[in-house]
């Protein structure tokens, strides 16, 4: 009997929440931190943006209302065992995952801050970065192999060229 009451209460709460959520939603994390093995493709939005004018005015006035509860120090692999595959290096994995679109655009044009950052993370020395950029541009179609390529595939493709 009590289980039914709980289920009923839960349904009521869900209905109420659904009723309240008539507006499109204010900036809030939709996918907080995707697991590394879930491939992220082009056009994935980290944050659930909102379009409604009212939401925009309100969101802007309560600045910084994207309550992402991460507390992660950007750590590197200094002192740790060198990774055998790019996809296993957490720093590079997360970077490519979160910058898929900009990385693709900069690789295709052969330059850019995001591409340069990837080179740094991969250990490419500053003197070799121009050659690296030229190389990835020439190999773009192999790295970003299809329209729905995922970030793990991009990392594996980057590995193979090396």
């Amino acid at each position: 009997m009590s289980r039914r009451i709980i289920a009923l209460a839960a349904l009521v709460c869900l209905a109420a929440a659904a009723a309240m959520a008539q507006d499109k939603g204010v900036p809030g994390p939709s996918s907080n931190t995707p697991r590394d093995n879930v491939g992220i493709g082009l056009g994935t939005l980290i944050f659930d943006g909102s379009d409604g004018l009212v939401q925009q005015v309100l969101a802007a006035t309560t600045n910084g209302s994207c309550g992402n509860q991460t507390f992660a120090i950007t750590s590197g692999t200094s002192g740790a065992k060198p990774w055998s595959k790019l996809v296993m290096n957490e720093e590079i994995n997360h970077f490519v995952r979160d910058n898929m679109d900009t990385l693709a655009r900069e690789m295709a044009r052969g330059s850019g801050e995001t591409l340069d950052t990837l080179a740094e993370l991969m250990g490419v020395q500053p003197a070799e970065r121009a050659a690296f950029a030229k190389d990835v541009q020439a190999n773009f179609r192999r790295i970003y192999s299809s329209a729905n390529v995922t970030h793990t595939e991009v990392l594996e493709n980057l590995d193979q060229k090396g």
């Binding site: 809030g28 056009g43 980290i46 379009d51 309560t62 209302s65 509860q69 992660a72 750590s75 590197g76």
Partner: protein
């Protein structure tokens, strides 16, 4: 008795030798400092010693020290932090001395059972108390927070940066911004900086009204979070289309360490978020003050002027001397506009059609009409434009993916992009704009009657105020009061009280077509009817519109507005509708000219056809001083009059 003098005879020799051997072994065994005996470890502080330390902390008045008050986020009466987990004393939120005593005790005493050590929870307090009281770390149960030390070693912090994202597209209030701090570490790339951000935790899909109410009245918990800066850049630059300013901070290495130590203490600690007061910008000030006590940043916002505008905190930091160089990071939309301006209009249009899918990359290259470098530039711009549309959710992922991929796939086969020209000028820094309060002194004539005018505005900026540092076309005004003294009949009269005036005038171009709008409300004095009777009406007006650039920094706007009046007019209320249009153009480097006209037909309540046409020329004399000359003719409910005025504006 010397052993050499003892002569042992045969039968007693063996037991004697054994005895000598045993004595020798014992002598060696008991020699002080021998390796077999371990040295005694430094003992933890005894209860008596801890009591003495507590007494010394009192004698030194440590609980009143600014550094301690900052670590507790003290506002003068109590701590601003609301989470009980932040305090070791039961009344720690209101009693700084009790909190200090409890902290000192907890640091010197091993934590019971599996409870986390005080040193792990409050490493900043540990470090400060060790320094103030000369504590020997080896005599504490936990000498340092191992997790923190490992994280800092991995980060290798070298500089702190204050990051200020500016206005959202179409949202004037957001130009007063947001602040966050990043720390440069062992990576050279700015994108890999460590970002520290304070924000309210809001459940997704929250109703807009609930959101506003709770945001203003502290209904949401706020938390500090750490993440790689590139996530913030993506959010601000690519999705929200906000330009970002990055100010180097002059904090040295020990100060950055103190900042990080204090951030660590705030992990998962809740502090209720208040939009006006304890917002993102205010809570970041405590981190800076923890780094360098004595900056006095939070004190400026603890008094009568309690509202905290993020941009004002940036100005406060400038005055405190901790800001150095500023770097401008334009948003994706800004870069699209800039890149388009470098191409010919034809190429710009091709890029737009590439982005919208009206033109395929193959069709663009077909027939080799375009040389390779121009084709590359067109495809680059088209891809960036398309990415910005996706960031604003104007297009679904299913439509976006194949289009984006095909543009880049074709683009990659063309020669690499030319380097960006170095002449890309950054706009004026937001912290160099005029101050947010304004006082006006004016003199003029209205309907033949001379007047003197005194006006005060709490905040912030109208479209004719000095432009540098502000987004053109954005207006946010709060609490503006105009008073007039008329010679005939010699009285001081209330002229207007504007509660809020908002304008979002964003120019439309081939790439972005924002809807402009304005919204105003307040109480205004008007003379109505043929006799010119004085009337005070409450008004609410506003509506949608469009803005188009005219070149050379000039723009034209058109708004279709509704106008609701209550009180003052003959029928007690009136409702009207009508167009408003105007042109704003720069005059020289310091002036702006605004020519406008508006007409409102009131059809419900007291009918009338009100209209106004005017011209205003304003000049900035310095960053905080401006002057204007204006003329206007208006008709309100049958009463027509000309007005001319000279005004001086002082910003403070």
């Amino acid at each position: 008795m010397a052993l050499s003098n003892v002569r042992l005879t045969g039968k007693r020799r063996r037991p004697a030798a054994l005895l000598v051997f045993a004595l020798a072994v014992l002598a060696v065994w008991n020699r002080p400092g021998a390796a077999e005996v371990p040295a005694s470890a430094p003992a933890l502080y005894t209860a008596a010693e801890v009591t003495a330390l507590l007494g010394r902390a009192d004698a030194l008045g440590l609980d009143a020290a600014p550094a301690w008050r900052i670590l507790l986020h003290w506002d003068g009466h109590e701590s601003r932090v609301d989470d009980p987990a932040f305090f070791l004393a039961p009344d720690g939120k209101r009693d700084a001395r009790a909190e200090l005593q409890a902290t000192l005790l907890a640091l010197c005493t091993p934590a019971p059972g599996t409870a986390p050590a005080a040193a792990d929870r409050f490493p900043a307090r540990l470090e400060w108390l060790c320094e103030m009281l000369g504590l020997e770390r080896t005599r504490l149960p936990v000498p340092a927070c191992a997790e923190f030390e490992a994280a800092v070693r991995s980060l290798e912090p070298r500089q702190a940066v204050l990051v200020f994202p500016s206005a959202y597209l179409n949202t004037p209030a957001s130009m007063f911004g947001h602040t966050l701090i990043t720390v440069r570490g062992r990576r050279r790339s700015e994108l890999m900086n460590q970002a520290v951000n304070y924000a309210a935790s809001v459940p997704p899909d929250t109703n807009g009204i609930v959101f506003a109410f709770k945001g203003i009245f502290g209904g949401y918990p706020g938390y500090y979070s750490l993440m790689p800066y590139y996530r913030k850049v993506q959010e601000y630059s690519d999705m929200d289309q906000r330009d970002v300013w990055e100010y180097d901070l002059t904090l040295d290495a020990p100060e950055i360490r103190r900042l990080l130590l204090h951030v660590w203490e705030l992990r998962n600690i809740r502090s209720d978020y208040y939009f006006f007061g304890e917002n993102c910008a205010y809570n970041l000030l405590y981190l800076l003050e923890a780094a360098r006590p004595g900056l006095g940043l939070t004190q400026r916002f603890n008094g009568i002027r309690f509202w905290v505008v993020p941009l004002d905190t940036v100005k406060a930091m400038r005055e405190a001397g901790i800001l150095a160089n500023a770097t401008y990071r334009p948003s994706l939309a800004t870069r699209v506009r800039r890149d388009a301006a470098r191409l010919s209009p034809e190429d710009g249009e091709l890029a737009r059609r590439i982005g919208t899918g009206e033109l395929t990359p193959d069709a663009l290259l077909a027939g080799n009409r375009l040389p390779a470098d121009r084709a590359g530039a067109v495809l680059d711009l088209g891809a960036a434009y398309l990415q910005s549309l996706r960031g604003r959710r104007k297009i679904s992922q299913e439509t976006y993916q194949p289009r984006y991929f095909s543009i880049l796939s074709v683009r990659s086969q063309l020669p690499p992009a030319a380097p960006e020209p170095a002449d890309a000028a950054a706009p004026a820094r937001p912290d160099e704009g005029h101050a947010s309060g304004r006082l006006t002194l004016g003199a003029g004539s209205d309907g033949g009657r001379p007047f003197l005018e005194l006006s005060a505005r709490a905040a912030y900026h109208d479209i004719m105020d000095p432009g540098p540092g502000y987004v053109p076309g954005f207006e946010v005004q709060f609490a503006r009061l105009d008073l007039r003294w008329e010679e005939d009949p010699g009285r001081l009269r209330f002229e207007r009280l504007d509660a809020i005036r908002l304008k979002s005038f964003s120019p439309r171009d081939r790439f972005y077509r924002p809807l402009s709008w304005e919204l105003n409300t307040g109480v205004v004095h008007e003379r109505i009817g043929h006799a010119g009777r004085d009337a005070y009406t409450a008004y609410l007006d506003g509506g949608p519109g469009g803005v188009w650039p005219l070149g050379a920094g000039a723009w034209v706007y058109g708004v279709l507005g509704g106008d609701l009046r209550l009180g003052g007019v003959d029928d007690g209320a009136a409702l009207g509708l009508g167009p408003k249009a105007g042109v704003v153009m720069p005059v020289g480097s310091r002036g702006q000219l605004h020519a406008y006209g508006q007409w409102t037909g009131f059809f419900a309540g007291d009918p009338a056809a009100n209209w106004e046409a005017g011209l205003e020329q304003r000049w900035s004399l310095s960053r905080q001083l401006a002057v204007s000359l204006s003329v206007a003719r208006r008709e309100t409910w049958g009463f027509a009059a000309n007005e001319a005025a000279l005004r001086v504006f002082v910003y403070f």
